[in-house]
């Protein structure tokens, strides 16, 4: 009897996998559709741009989804981490510009300057995350309304302080020499930094997956997403895990902000809020708490945004909201969300 139920369970398990596979195939396949009205060369350019954009959104969304999945906290201050990361990176680049590491620099110096920017953003974002979690978010566990209000308030404060420290106006970001310009591969123009964005995004994804799947910490975090109480009774201080994940999420958002600022070559204080919308859409599409889901969602959003922006520019964000609405109607918890 026991074995019988077990095999039944296994079959069910197999069935679930085919379903997931179906989700993957459908969500990949649909992106060949624009080829019907976009010529292949442009399509290729748009696809690279979309992938790059998706990877960058993923950086922000992955933190957001983990924070939500584990802590059940909707962190609307996530956009503030993002914009702070962008401005910290901007300052570092300006500083490095003085010693000639940015404009007219060699490949090593260019890469070095970007890495330095990212590290600085990582540290600043992480610290901000820890402070925010320990000071404010901690007070709001269990009440979504409080979370929304308090993280909103925190977001307003952080962005206003940013305007005091830097300025409320747009700034131009100088892209390090080696990342300027583009390659042309078979008529397709590929901007160098887009490739860099895809590489960084892929590295972060790999890193997160490695930590989540292969380490004890990853097991604890995944277990916490599913059932906090059990994790606590097994002897882990879930609060400390919360702080850690919040810190990591904030750091990732800040890194995303830095990458985004170099990607767009300009920054402004409202960019955090704009990007938060993308990240929210991605998190909803992917399913709260699922890193792979938000990766899938981010790629979808990046691609859809670029294809639609090329065809009907004002509707680009609308298209993403449409995708979100349709996915929610079919799967109310998102592509990879818990049922």
């Amino acid at each position: 009897m026991t074995t019988q139920t077990a095999t039944a369970g296994l079959q069910e398990h197999g069935g679930m996998d085919t379903k997931k596979l179906g989700v993957w195939i459908a969500s990949v396949g649909i992106w060949f559709l624009p080829l019907l009205w976009i010529d292949p060369t442009t399509y290729a350019v748009l696809t690279v741009a979309g992938l790059a954009m998706g990877m960058l959104i993923f950086l922000t969304a992955s933190g957001l989804t983990l924070i939500f999945g584990l802590m059940d906290v909707l962190n609307l201050a996530h956009g503030a981490f993002f914009v702070w990361g962008a401005y910290v990176g901007f300052s570092i680049l300006n500083g490095l510009q003085q010693i000639g590491w940015v404009e007219g620099a060699g490949a090593a110096q260019s890469i070095g300057s970007v890495v330095l920017c990212l590290l600085a953003a990582l540290v600043v974002g992480g610290l901000m995350g820890i402070v925010l979690e320990k000071m404010l978010v901690r007070l709001t566990y269990g009440s979504h309304l409080k979370q929304i209000l308090i993280t909103m308030g925190a977001s307003l404060i952080l962005v206003e302080i940013l305007k005091v420290v830097w300025s409320p106006n747009d700034e131009v970001v100088t892209v390090p020499q080696a990342f300027q310009g583009s390659w042309i591969v078979m008529d397709v123009i590929i901007t160098k930094f887009r490739v860099a964005a895809i590489v960084v995004g892929a590295l972060v994804l790999a890193g997160i997956q490695l930590v989540m799947m292969r380490t004890k910490l990853g097991i604890i975090v995944r277990a916490g997403v599913e059932n906090k109480e059990v994790v606590e009774t097994l002897g882990y201080n879930i609060r400390r895990v919360f702080t850690g994940v919040f810190c990591a999420g904030a750091a990732l958002a800040a890194v995303g902000g830095t990458m985004w600022s170099i990607f767009k070559e300009q920054i402004h204080p409202a960019m955090g809020e704009e990007n938060l919308i993308f990240a929210l859409i991605v998190v909803i599409i992917g399913g709260m708490g699922s890193v792979t889901g938000s990766f899938l969602g981010a790629i979808m959003v990046g691609l859809a945004y670029n294809y639609v922006a090329y065809t009907l520019p004002p509707l680009a964000l609308g298209a993403n909201i449409m995708i979100m609405a349709v996915i929610l109607l079919i799967r109310p918890t998102g592509l990879m969300g818990k049922e």
Partner: protein, 236 residues
């Protein structure tokens, strides 16, 4: 007489505004499996949860191995050497069986892995489904995983909450056998509604009713005391 491994004195616990435990007094002797009995809503599960710090006591004392633990957080209680098996087969469905065990290991060393060998002997299914997601296991297998998971550490005390709930009789028999093996190594406190299971594991028993301790004694005596069973357990 030896010191009790765990004792509760005048413990009151509220869940929201409900007064669930209304002055529970209990003491558990090391090495003796004890069963908490009582009707639905008598406060048995809450007692275990209060010991673990999941529903903290509003007043009263919980002494674990001579140390007051009523103000401790669940993870601190767990680190004092208490294993907890929550009700409803609370294993982590999205994690593999292996990951469930690794999560439970407070330290992954040779000693814990050698305990795994014992566990595999007790619960061969755990080895068989080592790499499967815990969510695909049957109800009985999940319950065994939940118990085995708590056994993986060298705990002095194991709290088990209604392991038989929702399981087929044949599975219950297997569970009884395994818990009886485990109770040779650690002190087991069991909350159980299934009297058959309770009577086959417990040495001592307590009966709770309306959040109070109303009776205690030796299991062997209770089995033959029809009046008591009918009065408190609704078993005619």
């Amino acid at each position: 007489m030896a010191e009790p491994i765990l004792s509760l004195a005048k413990v009151h616990t509220y869940i929201e505004q409900h007064h669930i435990l209304q002055g529970v007094d209990l003491s558990f002797m090391p090495g003796r499996a004890t069963v908490l009995l009582g009707r639905n809503g008598a406060g048995k599960s809450t007692t275990l949860r209060t010991v673990m710090g999941l529903t903290p006591a509003a007043s009263g004392e919980v002494i674990l191995k001579g140390q007051a633990v009523q103000a401790m957080k669940p993870y601190e209680v767990a680190k004092q050497g208490v294993g907890f098996v929550p009700e409803d087969q609370a294993v982590l469905y999205t994690l593999s069986v292996e990951e469930n065990f690794r999560l439970a290991m407070l330290s992954e060393n040779e000693k814990t892995w050698s305990r795994m060998e014992t566990i595999f002997k007790l619960f061969p299914d755990m080895k068989k489904f080592w790499r499967s997601k815990a969510g695909v296991l049957s109800g009985g297998q999940k319950q065994m995983l939940a118990i085995a998971r708590a056994f993986v550490n060298d705990h002095d005390l194991l709290l088990i909450d209604e392991p038989s709930k929702g399981l087929a009789p044949i599975v219950v028999d297997h569970l009884i056998e395994s818990i009886n093996h485990i109770k040779n190594h650690t002190t087991v406190i069991l909350v159980e509604q299934n009297f058959y299971m309770a009577s086959h594991i417990g040495v001592d028993y307590f009966i709770l009713d309306d959040g109070r301790t109303v009776h205690q004694g030796l299991m062997d005596d209770l089995v033959h005391d029809e009046g008591l069973k009918q009065k408190y357990l609704g078993i005619a």
